[in-house]
Amino acid sequence: MFSVSEEPLEDLDLQGPLLNREAGGCVEFSGRVRDFNQGKTVSSLEYQVYAGLADKEGNLILKEAREKFDILEARCVHRSGHLKIGEMAVWVGVVAVHRAEAFSACQYIMDELKHRLPIWKKEHYADGDSGWIRSHTPPLKAGGDLAFS
């Protein structure tokens, strides 16, 4: 239910596989490339993905969400490659009978994947400069806790 796509997410039927006759409510999150970040004008964004580990970690996050929240199903697709401004970079969808659970689960999934998926993004700026974006959270020391932070 987690996957990485080199094709534009706009071309995929994202919500379709989640819908079934039981599902009363669907909460979705979509993140798009912004044209401005931390004071600089962004012209494009490049995503690198360690696909093998991303699939494993992404599916683990979705499994955690299904265990923690009373939901019917959850799905996430993350884009890889070079994205233009306005293109969708990530999509998360959750269906549930009770909408409060769907909201909580969708937010949990987004929070976790931001910190745990082995995905890196490089912003290319209008002035020709570029830089790798660091997560706001410093990485955990390696040790007993294997969650990527």
């Binding site: 580990l53 994947l113 998926l117 890196w120 993004k121 490089k122 790798w132 390696a142 294997l146």
Partner: protein, 84 residues
Amino acid sequence: MRADQKTVSLLYFAVLREQRGLNAETRTTSVSTAGALYEDLKRDCGFTLSRDDLRVSVNGAFVDFEQPIADGDEIVFLPPVAGG
């Protein structure tokens, strides 16, 4: 090949890929842990990130830097992530 030598695969991402100039390579080493291997790479390849900035995965699972490494392992040192 000496008895303590092993050949491992390395994948590089983000700033490490740029500093190494390669997506992947194989390397023969006699060190015994992932942490010691990174110290060698840092010295040889001019990596600027310290071990504290990184996580390490061996064969697709996050592990401790003290994890012993074995011949044939796929090892990835992961810079801070920023998905989404």
